[in-house]
Symmetry: C2
Subunit: 308 residues, 2 copies
């Protein structure tokens, strides 16, 4: 058995429009790269060779550390590990930076220990990393980060994870405007009470998204990518949101919405060429507003984490 | 072309747990039987040979009359029709009595006129009958009554009707306790405001129902048959509701909930034998409470209305 392996774990999009808190998917890029190594002494050590210097290195303050510890506690292992971050999804981007780290750590450790648990069972541990990162143990980033593809979190109590089909031609554009927007703050703007009328519109679209994925019906999936509950308040925190979304749709996107709790946006298209045009159209809006941005164009990642 | 035909249109279950207002399915039995005849003079005449004598015979006060008139207006036809009700689903049962009538009328007229419109396009006219019956033009009864199977109403504005797959072994038990419960009153007890937290639970289950139907995953479908928003208030209007549901689950049902706005309950099983046991278990509860009841056991109807 290897003593040290390099892991890639993908960035992910959660809160997929009408799939708030229950639907996420994985990207082919970007993602985290970590080196994970079994050590002779017990405990978790974290090293950072990535570009993001603000990462806490104490395992109890690090999302990957917390996730890994939860995993080790569950399997009652005293094995020590050292995690070295090589590449890291930008923290605070809204594309599952903390989830990618947590997923990479538990996936890597599980590999090094001979896979005592199936990937699906790792989700609960990675969720502990999310609890640290955002104050809420949501699963719609860590589940696709670990399983790949689209994943439904049907229920949190008990946890019920349902992998969904991924239509072959679905391509994703991501724009990450370089503004700061904390997950916790994005949670605070949410209304605790909503109208039943809006909720009905929302779960009609939730159902439409799921049916669209199963049918490989891109038009149905696209017109179901609506959110009448979260987007109206959260989008206000993202400068230029309406114009970016409009630009994406004008460039041919099937739909566009906030990725996670923002500030990134995601849009879907049916080819990488179209997805590139869509990403560029969104970036032009950002540029015109003097906001720097990163863009990514990717198919939906069907594999989840891999050993590099 | 025939001048007169006999039509069967099925009873239906709407508000399928977490599919409130957006998901319905058709039953093989019971249903409405009507005779519809082209007449020489213009206008709609309604005759009633069914057991339910309280049916309004003025077309503008009759759900089938209103639906048929909306259809004729849309296709700009001056053709006159006579509708004779032969068998009728009990009004006020919560299994789409008004929807079956509306569906039968527009389906029959469309047949007699050589099918100028596809079945899907008839839904909007049958909805006008629902508006008369309940004050709200909902589609989750009329759409499955016209199309058969499970049907998703993804959106009302614009109307977007998505037929869904029907798992082969799915069988339904219906119990109709003989108590009066008006659709309008059942609407009044609904809370206009709900918590976001409950809404997330609800649309997780909405998504689970849709995924369960596509996967033919009976266990997933069953555990998704939950409703944390409507059932808690509406079930109070149905005496013995909790005991009936408990009896259904004890007898092996996959799930059980309120049919439409009640007072009927539906439950699902994976065989007709099991569905019979479930129906009987629910009926025993009704009997113990001195409430008369009708029970029906049926597969899911995949055809919608038929010419007899």
């Amino acid at each position: 058995m290897e003593k040290s392996i390099k892991i890639f774990a993908p960035a992910t999009v959660a809160n997929v429009a009408a799939g708030f808190d229950i639907l996420g998917f994985a990207l082919e890029k970007p993602g985290d790269e970590i080196l994970i190594r079994k050590t002779d002494k017990t405990g978790i050590q974290i090293k950072n060779e990535s570009a993001f210097t603000s990462m806490p290195l104490q395992p109890e303050n690090n999302t990957a550390g917390v996730a890994l510890q939860a995993y080790l506690d569950a399997i009652e292992s005293k094995q020590g590990f050292e995690i070295t971050f090589i590449k890291k999804v930008k923290p605070g981007s809204g594309i599952g930076s903390s989830a990618a780290s947590s997923a990479a750590a538990v996936f890597g450790a599980n590999e090094l220990l001979g896979n005592p648990l199936p990937a699906k069972d790792l989700v609960a541990f990675a969720m502990e990393g999310e609890r640290l990162a955002s104050g809420s143990a949501h699963a719609d980033n860590v589940a696709p980060a670990l399983l790949g593809g689209f994943v439904l979190i049907r229920s949190y109590h008990p946890l019920d994870i349902i992998p969904l089909p991924t239509p072959e031609r679905l391509c994703c554009s991501i724009i990450h405007p370089q503004i700061e927007l904390k997950t916790e703050d994005a949670r605070k703007v949410l209304k605790k009470q909503i109208t039943l009328q809006n909720a009905v519109v929302q779960w009609g679209n939730t159902a439409g998204l799921i049916a669209g994925l199963f049918r490989e019906d891109y038009a149905l999936f696209g017109r179901s990518l609506q959110d009448v509950i979260i987007e109206p308040t959260r989008s206000i925190l993202i400068p230029g949101y309406d114009q970016m979304k409009e630009a994406a749709l004008q460039a041919g996107a099937l739909g566009c919405n906030i990725s996670g709790s923002g500030p990134s946006l995601f849009a879907f298209s049916t080819s990488l060429e179209e997805a590139s045009r869509v990403a560029e159209a969104m970036q032009q809006v950002c540029s015109s507003l003097q906001i720097d941005s990163d863009i990514y164009v990717s198919r939906v990642n069907k594999k989840g984490p891999i050993v590099l």
